[in-house]
């Protein structure tokens, strides 16, 4: 190896590119396999329900809190801005649109990634380093089908439900703040019905399903390819959260550009 700083830099960048391509390839293969196996029998309905329970119950409380305070603080800011133009009647629709299109799906996904995506990575990587995944393999029990498929399906189903909760709670939070700030409660609600279309809500829920896929598949991938003991478990958990965050935000941009 040359000690020339330029060659070093090129080598460093090359390594990063190679490892990104490597991981992206493996990640895609694993995700596709997990989805294909979801279609093929035998189906393990019970493990899917078990995972749905874990995803939903574990996250419901944080999702409600996040939705409530996001709606509330967003309304505070909107009222402050809109008062200058005497556009208080538009506060309700603005809050509702923002919650259903963006804030609900994205913030729910980020919170669930922190709670559930990280737990998936930690659980699978602990199974990996204690050879439990090898044990499944050697028993002829495909670990992708047994461990990863149910987690991904559960997240795809549960994220839209949690997002719907966050949307509703967010609007309620906004409503309470609006009343507290002396806005007309009837106007806040009725203008929402006039202006927010059901397509806003649907598109937000579709986003949520995609985010569910991302956070579960990334969490499982990071767990599944863990190396090296307890330290590896920590690394894969951190990587799962960071990578899923970035993927969710990038995916959000792409989907928003396509949808609206």
């Amino acid at each position: 190896m040359s000690s020339n700083p330029v060659t070093k830099l090129v080598a460093f960048c090359g390594r990063i590119v190679l490892s990104s391509v490597f991981h992206l390839g493996h990640y895609s293969l694993l995700s596709i396999r997990a989805l294909v196996l979801a279609i093929l029998p035998p189906w393990r309905i019970r493990s899917i329900f078990r995972q749905m329970e874990l995803v939903g119950v574990n996250s419901l409380f944080v999702v409600i809190l996040t939705g409530l305070f996001t709606g509330a603080v967003f309304t505070l800011q909107v009222i402050y801005g809109f008062r200058r133009f005497s556009a208080e009647s538009m506060v309700g629709p603005t809050v509702a649109t923002a919650m259903t299109r963006e804030l609900g799906p994205v913030l729910t996904a980020l919170m669930v990634t922190g709670r559930v995506g990280s737990a998936m990575a930690a659980e699978l990587s602990a199974m990996k380093v204690t050879e439990q995944i090898d044990a499944l393999n050697v028993m002829g029990a495909d670990p992708v089908k047994y461990l990863i498929t149910p987690r991904i399906l559960a997240a795809i189903v549960m994220l839209p439900l949690l997002t719907a909760v966050a949307d509703a709670v967010g609007v309620i939070g906004g409503y309470l703040v609006a009343i507290g700030k002396g806005l007309d409660p009837g106007q806040f609600a009725s203008r929402i019905q006039d202006i927010v279309v059901i397509g806003d809500v649907y598109n937000g829920l579709i986003k949520a399903a995609v985010f569910g896929f991302i956070l579960a598949s990334v969490g499982c991938y990071m767990g599944f390819y863990t190396k090296g003991g307890a330290e590896g478990v920590g690394h894969s958990t951190t990587h799962a959260v960071v990578c899923a965050y970035v993927a969710i935000l990038v995916g959000d941009f792409v989907m928003t550009a396509m949808m609206f």
Binding site: P42, E123, M127, T130, E131, Q132, D134, A135, N137, V138, M139, G140, A141, Y146
Partner: protein, 246 residues
């Protein structure tokens, strides 16, 4: 098809710069008890993981009768694995399941038996291993020796034709060790399975084995009956036998 012969030919494996297997060649006799011995860190577990398809060799061949596992399709490999039982050195128990669920898992997963029957079979195996009434215990509450026996029960529950045991008696007290050794001998006699045992227990090796193979410095340096091994003049074999007897 009866229990298979396993032929290992020139198996090589490197981890980074560390060459663990440097051309391992030997046969595992069908329907016999085959011991694999060698010092700690010589690659016994690594060799076993190659035999079960959990690790892929850099080069070399592993034949189960006329199936070479590196060229086997996934479904051929799955089919072969249905006939295999493997006891991992550290147990590899599923810590999200209870002891009973762990043992019954292969039956449950492959839908080979109704849950009640699977559980009854698991209970019976656990009782044979001195763990009666443990089925509902959590895996985390087990001692090392208990883990080992639960894992042993799980390896046995499908009545496999090929059995791999990675140090089945390490961590057990002498009484239990003797019991497990006897059980292995019995199972082999009853089922005619091909059995591979990794062990550090020289006394058990020399009494139980039909064939003993010794791995040293990445190669098999002896592969013979226990009697022939005792008479082996290879210095490393001599040293190993003497050291373990002392």
């Amino acid at each position: 098809m009866g229990a298979p012969t396993i032929m290992i030919r020139d198996l090589r494996k490197k981890f980074g710069d560390q060459e663990v297997l440097k051309g391992v060649t030997f046969d595992i006799l069908a329907g016999k008890i085959n011991f694999l011995i060698g010092r700690s860190g010589e690659g016994k577990t690594v060799a076993l993981k190659h035999l079960t398809g959990l690790m892929t060799a850099d080069s070399g061949e592993i034949w189960f009768d006329d199936l070479e596992i590196n060229q086997a399709t996934r479904s051929q490999l799955d089919h072969l694995r249905l006939k295999m039982g493997l006891l991992f050195q550290d147990g590899a128990l599923f810590d999200s399941l209870s002891v009973g669920e762990n043992v019954a898992f292969p039956l449950w997963f492959h839908r080979k038996a109704k849950p009640k029957i699977a559980q009854a079979k698991a209970d019976k195996l656990l009782a044979e291993l001195g763990l009666e009434g443990s089925a509902s215990r959590r895996v985390v509450s087990l001692s090392t020796g208990e883990r080992k026996r639960v894992a042993l029960a799980r390896a046995l529950i499908m009545d496999p034709e090929i059995l791999f045991f990675d140090e089945p008696t390490t961590g057990l007290d002498p009484l239990l060790s003797a019991q497990v050794d006897e059980l292995i001998g019995q199972i082999q006699k009853n089922t005619g399975a091909t059995v591979v045992v990794i062990s550090h227990d020289i006394a058990a090796t020399l009494t139980l084995a039909d064939q003993v193979s010794m791995i040293h410095d990445g190669r098999i340096i002896a592969s013979s009956t226990p009697a022939a091994l005792r008479a082996n003049e290879e210095p490393n074999v001599r040293m190993f036998l003497a050291g373990e007897n002392a």
